[in-house]
Amino acid sequence: MTIGIEKLTVYAGRLRLDIPDLVAARDALDAAYVQTQLMCEQRSVYPPFEDAVTLAVNAAKAILTPEDLESIALLIVGTESAVDCGKPVSTWVHRLCGLKANCRNFEVKHACYGTTGALKMASAWLATQNDPTKKALIINSDLSRKFLNTPYEPTGGGCAVAMLVSQTPEILEFDLNRVGYWTSEISDTFRPTSKTEIFNGQISLYSYLDALDGAYQHYEKTIGSVDYDAAFKKHIYHAPFPGMPLQAHRNQLSGLGLSKKAAIANFEQKVSDSLVFAKRIGMAYGGSTFLNLLSLLNTAEDLQAGDEISIFAYGSGCQGEFYSGTIGENAIAQVRSLNLENTLAARHLLTVEDYENLELLREQSIDAQTWQREHPLIDKVYAAAYDGQELLVLESVQDYQRSYQWS
């Protein structure tokens, strides 16, 4: 039995900010640091009428066929941006995507790791099914909170990745036994309230690398010694910002005795193609490794079906997981047919002032008992980027009950 990802896509909204514009507006941000170390170029921006529900639905709708809707018997949404502490985002996604009633659905949380855990649990569930047509829909949906005037402001963003998991892994096939995982309780990055996002940056960088060491050692303990450079055609690393995979890759290459120059050349050859979308969307949270897989399949010219790649997922708190997979038969053609580059380029460019005001308005809408889509700036971006696009948007909140409609 083969199991893995059959379809995969991303929804990154309809608005963007160019990071050089942001850097020019902030005296405290160093342009060279943002460009060469963080490696941020653009970010997606979300108006108050987008949330974890709209992102998830707008991603999933793009890949689901009527046949898929009949086959999906499990829906899991991973998010740290939930709109409710009790009612899961998956319930809205289930209804608004038109899934059948005989379907389990729930939401999971483990910072940027949760959706990788969900993927593996869903795959284990698939492996127990007698009916080979059953499928699982797994989504990660997250967006940054208000980062205005913080040192980490250039890293903000968000998106939803949606994937169909089945016994027809046309994108990525993986062996559930070829995996290593590692955990250690730490408060490196967390969201203690529905409006707050805390970054203990230095601790989080160290914790990420400890988790990479621990998960990779467990991987080798499980499957035997691995020649890291020879075993994998490409490497995907979780990217809290696009510059972090360079550190992660150099860490992995440390036993090979490469010079700094050789290690960076190896990174350019084996990792950088996976970061094209991350540089343009910003932080993808638990969707990061899947966004990076999309970027790799869309960009790499020396990748083909059957190639083995490695993937490292990391979630603050913390959990690391290192696993490997095989590029599927239809992966490259399927992803390139999505025209994701054009979709990203078509996002409406915001001024820094409009971005700042949208962030303030979005924060005000969080936890609101009553909210209406009425504001000159919100109307302006709706007309410029959403009207007629048939995307799900939040229409209103009345007594905390959320109403959605199609744009």
Binding site: Y33, L38, N200, G201, Q202, L205, D210, Q247, S254
Partner: protein
């Protein structure tokens, strides 16, 4: 490797990774951040030093260190 050699190694790695430090006298009672090292610079300096010393340690312990001397002391204890 002696403590002084490990200190020299850390300072050398600082000068390789942080701009405009070539001719600066480094005071080990100060933090790397005092010399303009970013969080990523510090990770790279520490990783390079660990690779050279061929030692591994939980990096999260490093977040508690106050200055360069604290780092060197930890490395001396770990490497010995």
């Amino acid at each position: 490797m002696t403590r002084d050699e490990i200190l020299d190694l850390v300072i050398n790695n600082m000068k390789l990774n942080v701009d405009d430090l070539e001719d600066t006298e480094i005071d080990p009672t100060k933090a790397m951040a005092d010399y303009g090292a970013s969080s990523l610079d510090i990770v790279e300096i520490v990783n390079t030093t660990l690779r050279k010393l061929k030692v591994k340690l939980p990096r999260t312990e490093l977040a508690q260190l106050k200055n360069i001397n604290d780092l060197v002391d930890l490395l001396v204890n770990t490497a010995s």
